[in-house]
Subunit: 500 residues, 2 copies
């Protein structure tokens, strides 16, 4: 059974996707430029205070935010409530990171016989533009990881409104700018523009110094092309869609029922609208994993609307492309429902169909999982060798001593930014060790992360001060470690508690 007619897109869609107008880009950017010196010169501890005020304001307004966001996103009250709290905690985390000061990479080389006194630290770039995601209106939206980490690093932010949730956007901006002002942050630290043309104008504005984007490959690459046509090119940190592979080992397949249920729970989470959605499940031929996945979908029958009519339409077209490329539908959820609802789908394809350029190797955004059976390790590795770069891979093992694991880790390392073992790829904790990025096309800058402590790096660059007298040195580079930050002095890494 194949073909798109089986998966009707019911209903005309929820909210208008059109932009809400064309606010004045010049005004928004000028406010950011005016704020920039005060934001940069504030101590990280001061910025952390401002950020905790935003976090607390978000926590105070969970119900209001969910009430506005649910009709715009159809993500459900429970998910949206949790996401607001998560976003508040992200602001608290980046506040801690700002204050910790490790991101400054303060480095002091006192003069030697052969080299002058050299002191290096990272400085904020200035105003930056953020294009948030459709699928996480809070955690990756206007007040998501990008905005929080940019402000932590000392950069004012101008956010481009996402057309999928303008009312949520407006409330978020109102909550944050009110909280920031009350906490004493400079006016202009956070602004917004809306509309496609305004987004283009924002990226081309000479006072914008970097762009962070979460969305489609087409959107990310268009922004990249745009910035390289500026008089002064600027970096674009685009986190784009990918097919995230999950490999089930031979002994992992012995837990087929658990794997099947986990796969369905993961690929249908948020109706599959996760950049970390497992897109490809590689399972040993002869195992019962594929049967268990289809059974689990039948039992689980996830239903829900996608974020926008456009995403629903693209999903249906994507299913069609997978079928045309050799995929076969083996299970789906009937009668999806009204509005932007779509059917969750499990497909399979022979390993031989996964050749470079095949649509089977490209992301289909939404609740679809492709299960491919491999005859042996050689066929499994041949499939892995055809995959594009991805944000995350996972391995499902039989035990912590699974003999296939070391080789699989070595093969997956060049492909992805994160490898989860015996865990599904969905779920990105905002911590010190997190890396949410990966080889092209998962990101435009594979060394950059949009989540975790190192997210600040995108909005800073190093500068070295040579022979600068102590009276003119910035605090982090004084001989005395006034802020008690981690530093490297004369080649030796020192912990934060060091006072010199």
């Amino acid at each position: 059974m194949t073909g798109i007619e089986t998966y009707p897109l019911t209903g005309a869609g929820g909210i208008p996707a059109a932009a809400s107008g064309h606010p004045d880009v010049a005004t928004a950017v000028t406010a950011a430029v005016t704020a920039a010196p005060a934001v940069a010169e504030a101590t990280p501890a001061q910025r952390a205070q401002w950020m905790r005020a935003v976090a607390d304001a978000l926590s105070d307004r969970v119900n209001d935010l969910v009430e506005v966001a649910e009709p715009e996103t159809h993500l459900g009250i429970a998910r949206l409530s949790g996401e607001v709290e998560r976003t508040a905690n992200q602001w608290r985390f980046y506040a801690d990171v700002a204050k910790d000061g490790g991101w400054l990479e303060a480095t002091i080389d006192h003069a030697t016989e052969t080299a002058p006194d050299l002191r290096r630290m990272r400085v904020p770039l200035g105003p930056v533009a953020v294009f948030g995601a459709s699928n996480f209106p809070f955690a990756f939206g206007a007040l998501g990881n990008d905005t929080a980490s940019a402000i932590a690093a000392g950069c004012p932010v101008v956010v481009k409104e996402h057309p999928a949730h303008p009312l949520t956007h407006a409330l978020l901006l109102d909550i944050a700018t009110t909280a920031l002002a009350a906490a004493g942050a400079p006016a202009g630290i956070l602004g917004t523009v809306s509309g496609f043309e305004a987004g283009t104008e924002l990226v081309l504005h000479p006072a914008i110094h970097a762009v962070a984007f979460t969305g489609s490959q087409r959107g990310g690459m268009a922004l990249h092309a745009l910035t390289w046509n500026r008089t002064v090119p600027i970096p674009v940190y685009a986190e784009m869609g990918t097919v995230n592979p999950v490999v089930v080992t031979s002994s992992g397949a012995e837990h087929a029922a658990t794997v099947g249920a986990g796969a369905v729970a993961s690929f249908t989470l948020g109706m599959g609208q996760f950049c970390t959605k497992p897109g490809l499940l590689l399972v040993p031929a002869g195992s019962t994993v594929l049967d268990e996945v289809t059974d689990a979908l039948t039992r689980h029958t996830p239903r829900g609307q996608l974020l926008t009519p456009g995403i629903a339409t693209a999903y249906v077209a994507g299913i069609d492309r997978l079928v045309a490329a050799g995929g076969t539908v083996v299970a789906y959820v009937p009668e999806p429902g009204p509005g932007n609802s779509v059917s969750a789908v499990v497909m399979t394809a022979p390993a031989s169909a996964l050749v470079p350029g095949s649509a089977l190797l490209e992301e289909c955004f939404g609740p679809v999982l492709l299960v491919v059976e491999y005859a042996d390790a050689a066929e499994r590795d041949a499939v892995l060798a055809t995959l594009q770069g991805a944000l995350v891979a996972a391995v499902m093992t039989g035990s912590s001593e699974d003999p296939e694991l070391p080789d699989l880790l070595a093969r997956l390392t060049p492909l992805v930014g994160r490898i989860a073992v015996d865990a599904w790829p969905t779920g990105v904790a905002t911590t010190w060790a997190q890396h949410h990025g990966g080889p092209w096309p998962s990101t435009s800058v594979p060394s950059a992360t949009s989540v975790g402590a190192r997210a600040l790096d995108r909005f800073t660059r190093p500068i070295t001060l040579q022979g600068v007298p102590a009276a003119a040195l910035p605090t982090p580079l004084l001989d005395a470690n006034v802020w008690r930050i981690p530093r490297r002095v004369d080649g030796r890494a020192r912990a934060a508690r060091a006072t010199t």
Copy 2:
């Protein structure tokens, strides 16, 4: 007195600039691909041993290298000898950096109630391409900072031969590959190709993962365009030419004779063929600095050949462009000499001529310095506001309490990657705190450095391992700090001596 006829390019030029053939790119890259796992899996301490072997081999062969390089570069025996020793010391430094392990950024977050066990480290990208500079055949050439830092980071390197010094290149490769083999490094860790077409083929090869380049803006931007037309784009770290500004404060101008002599010594060093050459000297109107600069040039009369006939021709054309843009020659060295010799030139222009787009704001590679007098701080700042990004700026003060210094540091910070106070910009020590990069167009990636400990970052990217059992973890991410490297554990930065 203006016009190019005053500065004849005497002689037909030294060595042929044509490429020496078209070695097989596929063979060179295949050797690098074969070597890559062994290079990456070697401990940093092992790589450091290999690298010290290269350093010692360079130190042993100073005379041989200088003998080959002098006819190809005309840089002089003293300079070339010093540069070989400097290059050997760079290899020793990057060996120390590799072993230190701070570049791994090893980060461990043990599982909490809300997040899984996450462990992050940087991994080498795989084979990379290096395009060395013409002006430093050793320190920034085939075995320069790029190659040494890439090998320190665990990446095999394929070097594109610079057509200006093919014999020097061949000897460098022979010395290094012999030393590396004797030290036990895998064959293929270092290879080479030559010729323009081979360079293009190298950058487009799917197994090449990054490109490091030192040279002209045109060359750097061409490489960038090339890599973004690949199926999988890769980063290009291009360090390009810039006009490095030096500001003399009011009280700094009281030391006019010292400033004048220093300016001439700096801008004529290596016949001005430094990417850190001071290109623009901003001095207070009414001071005697301009007179002292012209006097110093007359007394100093630096003479020498440029590296290639092409560079000499471009220099003469560049002087012509500066004159056409409103520059006036105020001093020059007569009778430059044979071959690729050119006259060193001091020019001046009114501050009002430095408008965006003017040739006065673009690099002229070679021994020319533009001196511009400013009427007051407002005019000085207006000039600074028109400057493009640059690798380095300098400030010449009256004393360490110079009241103009703090404001000047703030104004120069957005413009450059390094600020030297009471020191000339030429001279780039390879240390922990060095940053040799800067805003576009000085580099294609303003956060990257091509010199110093952080040069390794360009050839690595982070990966996060989630829930990986201890038996399959890489050594840097084990709970026990086996290599005694700096790490961050559960959010706390720890010094290298920490054992956990």
